[in-house]
Symmetry: C2
Subunit: 223 residues, 2 copies
């Protein structure tokens, strides 16, 4: 399967004159969009960062772009250096498909109880064992993660779940979204999410929400 | 070339059990998006409007959707009944391509002078001969149109030109956008747009802005 990393490495080689391995802050599942990503490579090129950015954009497929390029210290590791990520999960409340937002949201025909959803996710804030929201194939060595903020807000005909954290387990945001969806539909109380979290049992959570609703919105490194 | 009208007619026939001709408020150029459109057809079906909407959405390609369906008086003609349309033209100010907004905006590397652009478009409000902003192949019988509102605003990293009017000539919004772009770049004064309008000469206006920046945002019929 083609990967973004592979496409960037292929575009980079003719530009910098040698092969280079691109390391990023993490991969996203197929169907998940990313508004940004941070990646590094080691090069002997004399091109300026701006020329590398423009050269990459001339060579990359239209689905991938280099927003900016800058030199970093050789010790900088986008995966291991301390950073936070913001993920957004989007529901679209609509009786009909909306082609202009195709592949960008999970459509719900019924209005969701956003107040109840917003209340439910507060229990996720803090450092917790997120085993209940971890996909079977997750390769992380431990299931404890820190979530700094968790919100659910209405934006026009969309509902946005945002999670800000230092790291995420495999499918974690999508399993949280699938669970919060049940609360929004009125099939569970707001307090149910805390019960699921504390159970440390994937079987207690909701289903994994579809990939197309998920966006990696932001990655910020500690100054 | 496939048309939206053709796709809707093809989806409709098996649903209502007979062929029907679909009439809309107007066509948009290739590459232009529409957030909504109003279209009518005559049918003998016993299906409810909701069932027609859902049946259409099950059969239509993913790029087209029926947002709602309702019965109207037989005399209603979406093209001729009095209505207003709102078109939005979008510039994206960015040094790099932005894949999530691909095909939705005209990218400008340099910031545009939005204040000057906003000032320039005020001259379009009113009933004017828009010959200067009319494409060569335009089939309209006369070049006079009424514009009720014209604004240019910043929205995040985008600049939006909105024109509200009772009717538009071929490529009219795109030629206005191409002209306003020159003002935003500082290559013309704000007052230049009025000179172009008054000249009634297509040769005086800017180039036709690319189709992907244009969105038919709204159509409203007189109550």
């Amino acid at each position: 399967m083609p990967t973004i990393q592979g496409a960037v490495e292929a575009a980079l080689e003719p530009l910098i004159g040698h092969a280079a391995r691109v390391s990023s802050a993490g991969r996203t599942d197929a169907g998940v969009h990313a508004a940004m990503q941070v990646a590094t490579f080691v090069t002997r090129t004399v091109r300026t960062p701006q020329a590398v950015r423009d050269g990459l954009n001339a060579r990359l497929p239209a689905e991938i772009a280099c927003l900016s390029a800058e030199p970093v210290h050789a010790s900088f590791d986008p995966r291991r250096d301390p950073h936070t990520k913001t993920y957004r999960y989007t529901w679209l409340i609509s009786d009909a498909p909306r082609p202009l937002r195709r592949g960008r949201a999970w459509r719900s025909r019924r209005q969701l109880d956003v107040q109840r959803m917003a209340e439910s996710v507060l229990c996720l804030i803090g450092t917790h064992d997120f085993t209940s929201f971890r996909a079977a194939g997750c390769s992380a060595t431990h299931p404890v993660r820190t979530i700094m903020d968790a919100t659910v807000v209405v934006s026009g005909d969309e509902v946005h779940l945002r999670l800000l954290g230092t790291g995420f387990l495999r499918h974690m945001v999508r399993i949280v979204a699938g669970s919060v969806h049940e609360i929004g539909q009125g099939r569970q109380e707001a307090s149910w999410l805390r019960e699921v979290l504390e159970a440390r049992d994937r079987g207690r959570a909701g289903r994994t929400a579809p990939a197309q609703g998920l966006l990696l919105e932001r990655i910020v490194y500690d100054a």
